[in-house]
């Protein structure tokens, strides 16, 4: 479209490519190094500075991880919370977005006002904790799913999307004898597949990555999700938290760098696997259009 043939323009273009490509490489290089390191031996990790393909492929770190009871259990917890939690999110978000998309619904603006105000002001950590405690959710998996059941932001995007759907289909369905539940189930949801997929993935990623909810609401170690265990394996074994050890000159680091890397990889790879699907939707502009409005 626009061409710049002057020398300065060409130099700028080259520099632009180089800088952006460097930036892109820098964002993914840490992952590549971590994944490479997780398949290497500890000895190689210590002797070679940086590598992308380890000389000797070793599965020791992964064998260690998957023989570790608490890690395997936390993986199970994370999978469970991610699946059930996402279902909870989608149920609450969809059922609330549909009536709010109906302009003629009495009280709609008041409810929308409540939702929007909650984005601006909140009770904060302690009062929310007290509500979770008061409802008897503390130390249950529900505490990881219910307090964040609806993201107000997502709700409004879904509502706007529903609002844009053609009303004729809805009227036709109603003439055929569908009630509101039927309209939502038979017309709206099938028409909203892309947005259903997008938000399911976004919610699921949120559950998989969540650390704070478990920190606040879960006390029993056997109910900890992967992110909490990951934190323990990497940070606490580093003895950064137990500062006394750091000052002890005889302190030797446990030789578990590969195990740490493997644990990080286990925490990241599921996200990287769904990423192409996520990306398909946000580059398609499903989200962009909605974000703008």
């Amino acid at each position: 479209m626009r061409k710049w043939n002057s020398t300065g323009g060409k130099i700028f273009d080259c520099l632009n490519y180089v800088i952006l490509i460097l930036f892109a490489v820098c964002t993914v290089l840490p992952f590549i190094y971590i994944i490479a390191g997780s398949f290497a031996t500890d000895a190689e990790l210590r002797s070679r500075a940086f590598f992308i393909i380890p000389k000797t492929i070793s599965m020791d770190a992964y064998e260690y991880i998957f023989s570790n009871g608490s890690l395997v259990r936390s993986l199970g917890v994370s999978v469970y919370v991610t699946i059930i939690g996402t279902l909870v999110n989608m149920f609450f978000t969809m059922t609330m977005a549909y009536p709010l998309s109906r302009r003629d619904l009495r009280g709609r603006n008041k409810i929308l006002g409540l939702v929007i105000f909650s984005m601006l002001f909140g009770g904060g950590m302690i009062p929310t904790y007290m509500v979770v405690k008061g409802l008897g959710l503390l130390d249950t998996y529900w505490a990881l799913m219910i307090p964040g059941a609806i993201s107000a932001f997502n709700l409004i995007i879904v509502k706007n999307f529903f609002q844009e759907l053609p009303k004729e289909l809805e009227d036709a369905a109603r003439i055929d004898g569908c009630n509101e539940l039927g309209v939502l189930w038979r017309i709206y949801l099938p028409l909203s597949k892309p947005i259903l997929a997008t938000f399911s993935l976004f919610y699921a990623v949120g559950h998989w990555n969540d650390f704070t909810a478990a920190l606040l609401y879960i006390n029993s170690p056997e109910k900890w999700p992967l992110q909490v265990i990951l934190r323990q394996v990497v940070a606490l074994s580093q003895n950064v938290v137990a500062a006394g050890d750091r000052l002890d000159p005889n302190f030797v680091e446990p030789p578990a760098q590969t195990v740490k890397m493997a644990t990080i990889a286990v925490g990241t790879v599921p996200i990287l696997l769904v990423y192409p699907f996520l990306q398909k939707y946000f580059t398609k502009g499903v989200l962009l259009g909605s974000v703008k409005s």
């Binding site: 490509i21 990790l45 059922t95 009062p127 974000v291 703008k292």
Partner: protein, 323 residues
């Protein structure tokens, strides 16, 4: 139309003839839209329980809340918690730490996505552009725990990749993770790494809305690349930037609890303690619920003032604003 239906209703139900007022209209719409109200109920209940009940719970900031007495029997103490907070030596330290991080965030992190988006916009090869975008969006989806864990693995003094380089160059290692001096730079580097790519999306969306004819016209007039950037591109995305800035100011005091919590340790707490983490330590670790709630409320009120103020300012300068 509504009147017609309500009078129809009044005829069929004698009880309502007496009071054909608002109440019967409400009853009407409840009856007509009963499925819709049934559908909205779970979500509404969620907002009332988990968003509005805590807002009411904020009142314990004005109490000396005792768990065994409960909300109804705890003593009201007025503004004592706030007074105590403002007079405690922690206040200035927290305020300073929070403000410095927020300020660094605003100055160093906020402009980067704009610059990167403008650079991406200049790329002619669509394939390369897509490839770069694909890669730089990835970190947004990575958990904070993984981000900090990777930082630990890279920066640790015992065999961390970065520290190996430092050792080769200077002969000694740097305790990046525990040295208070390095806390803020690490936080900023992590934030830049995680958020820059994703934040370009909204700027790029605004850039696609720029009318191509404007560039052609400018070219006819002999405007070079920089003049086009200055006179066409930047004005076109100005309102987007202003809205992002207002949103950013609303979260000015949010340093990200999870991020700061995961990066802080007993050796760098002097610079790492911010409002968000302080509320956690005081409230949930030491059990001073009322005091912690007061600290949180103080932060929320300042945030609201900042959003409204920024919005007003934006309107004054002729921008649209949010509200």
């Amino acid at each position: 139309m509504k009147d017609a239906s309500s009078s129809l209703e009044a005829m069929s139900e004698p009880a309502l003839i007496v009071k054909p007022n608002k109440r019967s209209a409400l009853f009407q719409s409840l009856k007509r839209d009963k499925w819709l109200y049934l559908l909205v109920a779970p979500g509404l209940l969620y907002f009332l329980l988990f968003k509005y009940l805590p807002m009411w719970g904020v009142l314990i900031a004005f109490q000396d809340y005792q768990p065994f007495l409960g909300f109804w029997h705890s003593e009201w103490v007025g503004l004592d918690n706030f007074k105590f907070f403002f007079q405690s030596p922690d206040f200035l330290r927290l305020f300073k730490n929070t403000l410095i991080l927020s300020f660094l965030n605003l100055v160093l992190v906020f402009p980067l996505p704009i610059i990167v988006a403008l650079m991406l916009n200049e790329l002619k090869n669509a394939l390369v552009k897509r490839g770069i975008q694909t890669l730089i969006y990835v970190p947004h989806f990575i958990s904070m725990v993984v981000v900090t864990s990777m930082t630990y693995v890279f920066f640790t003094t015992s065999g961390g990749y970065i520290n190996e380089i430092v050792k080769n160059v200077t002969g000694h290692t740097i305790p990046f993770l525990t040295d208070p001096q390095w806390f803020r730079p690490l936080i900023i580097i992590q934030t830049v790494w995680q958020t820059t790519g994703w934040s370009t999306i909204i700027i790029l969306a605004a850039l696609t809305g720029v009318n191509a004819e404007l560039y052609e016209a400018a070219m006819m007039d002999g405007a070079g690349r920089w003049r086009q950037l200055w006179h066409i591109t930047l004005p076109a995305i100005r309102s987007t930037i202003v809205i992002l800035l207002i949103l950013k100011l609303g979260h000015f005091l949010d340093n990200g609890f999870e991020h700061i919590y995961l990066m802080s340790n007993s050796l760098n707490r002097s610079v790492a303690d911010v409002f968000d983490t302080y509320v956690y330590y005081i409230g949930l670790t030491s059990g001073q619920f009322s005091f912690a709630t007061a600290v949180g409320l103080f932060k929320s009120i300042i945030s609201i003032i900042l959003v409204l103020g920024a919005n007003k300012l934006a309107k004054k300068f002729g921008e649209e604003g949010l509200y």
